[in-house]
Symmetry: C2
Subunit: 399 residues, 2 copies
């Protein structure tokens, strides 16, 4: 077992630079040997920061292949635009480096297969860094599911409800990849924050699998109206028609008869939520009013349900996930309510031990493919499309 | 204009008898001349009640055609099982009697067309008695939509989230039609409580229409588990496999690009809700935590949204629907938070004035057909199915 992990950071935009600063550089067992971005200002800023904290100068490059060529590097963190994740993850596996890939959706089924086939040939692990699998409520609910508190799970729902109009409309200034995706594509472009925890609950790729999906998209109005108000001086943007519908609803059907609904919801005004909902024969968890409802304990008509809003807090003592119990004692660290620190700790632990990551290439492929398939379904007027079995039957045996 | 409406009550189960007792017999301008049900005990109880309140004995029959044959009767109220609604409504129109049909879903597209064609031939109105179109929050939100508070409406959602396991499992004892429907069918069997208000917001059949839908159903587990616990002595029921999935999700696509998602959710434990959600370019209404979010007023990250839960109350003074303002002053009456009284008042007013009802045969056909179409879509693995234009083009001109 290694006592230190030596990494290269690839992609230093908003996400990559904050991961570096708030999470990775705070870890004593991680050394950043290289920083890589297409933009000079980003890589210089990152190099400076690394040098300040680690007292050693990292390699600085715009070519991720150079990072993969550094022999001492054990692993790379990929926080680039969505469209570069697969190419870099595949190249990392080929180069024998563990890859931590930030989340995003696939552009084709073929890129998902490429990830799987490269892994199967090289046996070099890649982990999809779905931080929400380490969310406090998500983990508590998973713990409750495991203990049978909700009975047999029948249906789950989730959404990426995040008003990103500002980020997208100022995408040229921010050099953010979402802008072009919203101009050219129409689909469930960011499914994994909600799908990751749900897939774990439903044991996807471990005794269950997703079989088919349908998607429909609403019209695209939110961004257009926002730009008319906030960017009226930008003639090009003012004349842009966005393809991406404001709300994309997807229904997924699983091998054991469960359904999952996903909602992409990023260009209309609303409060942030992941809309996490778990429905079983004995109870329900519902993020949007932070409530737990248990059969025989709560009353379905009780004062408009209101008295139960926020009652998740009453379940903490009994059901808090052991990982979070420990984490709360030690002190929660880093961004996104502490989830980032946990998911990166899990990854670096695997690199040190040389083990398989908890969220593996089959998870990555099956979660990411939802994006490409939802685009297809929408293009076909809501046609159901099959979800491949990326394990080629191994899902029936995997634990 | 008539000063009294003379009616026949057809169907005196739970719904029909409570409507009679709590709503209809409290109205001074309505006289019940006939009561009709297949079960003797129900019609005798109703007849007794009518006689007590009105001091005149109604006709008592098990044959709705006898009711339609009574010359003095102006209108009939149809509160039978779902599968009898259309036959009776059609016969009522043929007999020249206004028909108030309780809500439910269609079994085929053809029955919806039969309603429309009978109306177009006879010009005798039928109204679908969707009480939720008269709900207090629903009407306030409609008022806000009309005033542009939420901007352009892009997406709406709703559900029939009502734990009916007890009603269904004891369906033999209760003589309730849901039991057989859950044994034999699988679809969105009760869409109108949420779809009615949404259709009004999206001006369905009045400048807009529903174009296609997809549905998927989860496995059926809730009822089975409930029966194993609560009815273990009933060998027949214990061995029944229910076809109806616990959760049915439907996505509807509208002519002007809006989407609607509907959830049928009646056989798992949870609190009651209609999940009413309205999304526009300037704001959102969300029933499940009774909140309103307005662009530029509220903050998407503000203390986990929680501080806004229940804030609909702050909007009452400015946006309460005029009908409800008046109603609250006069005193809310009858069942289901006062909605029943309002929808029946609206119907009886039309009968008195000889005018068209606010929820007409085109609304009835297009809302009810969602049930038959969702069964088809599910049977076809989530295939999109077209929603007919029951107006044959008149929706583009209708106000």
């Amino acid at each position: 077992m290694k006592d230190k992990v030596r990494i290269g950071m690839i992609g230093l935009g908003n996400r990559g630079s904050s991961l570096l600063k708030d999470v990775i550089l705070s870890m004593n067992d991680v050394e950043v040997l290289a920083v890589c971005d297409l933009y000079e200002d980003r890589r210089e800023a990152a190099a400076k920061l690394v040098e300040q904290v680690q007292s050693l100068k990292p390699a600085v490059t715009s070519d991720y292949k150079e990072v993969l060529g550094i022999a001492q590097i054990d692993a790379v963190v990929i926080a680039t635009s969505w469209e570069a994740h697969t190419d870099i993850a595949v190249a990392a596996m080929e180069a024998g480096k563990y890859a931590a890939s930030e989340v995003g959706g696939a552009y084709s089924l073929q890129e998902c297969w490429r990830l799987v086939e490269t892994y199967e040939r090289t046996k070099v692990p890649v982990m999809i860094m779905e931080n929400c699998c380490y969310g406090r409520d998500e983990m508590m609910v998973m713990n409750m599911v495991k203990q049978g508190v909700f009975g047999e799970i029948v249906h789950c729902a989730g959404g990426y409800h995040h008003d990103l109009r500002d980020e997208i409309a100022f995408g040229k200034e921010n050099r953010h990849y979402r802008l072009k995706n919203y101009m050219h594509r129409n689909g469930e472009n960011y499914p994994t924050h909600e799908l990751g925890p749900i897939a774990q609950i439903l044991k996807i790729n471990r005794g269950n699998r997703m079989v088919s999906l349908v998607s429909m998209a609403s019209k695209a109005r939110g961004l257009k109206e926002y730009i008319q108000r906030e960017k009226s001086g930008d003639a090009e943007l003012m004349n842009t028609e966005f393809r991406q519908g404001d709300i994309v609803t997807t229904i997924i059907n699983c091998a054991h008869g469960e359904t999952i609904t996903l909602t992409l919801d990023t260009t209309l005004p609303r409060p942030y939520s992941r809309g996490f909902t778990v429905r079983g024969t004995k109870g329900m968890y519902f993020e949007d009013n932070r409530s737990i409802y248990l059969d025989g304990v709560h009353d379905q008509y009780h004062i408009e349900w209101k008295s139960q809003w926020g009652n998740v807090e009453q379940f903490r003592e009994q059901y808090e996930h052991p990982l979070w119990k420990k984490y709360l004692q030690e002190g929660v660290r880093g961004g996104h309510d502490g989830m980032d620190y946990l998911v990166f700790s899990a990854f670096f632990e695997c690199v040190k031990q040389g083990t398989e990551p908890p969220l593996d290439v089959y998870d990555m492929a099956s979660w990411m493919c939802v994006t490409a398939l939802s685009e297809e379904s929408i293009a076909l007027g809501g046609q159901p499309v099959p979800i491949p079995d990326f394990t080629n039957g191994k899902w029936m045996h995997r634990e």
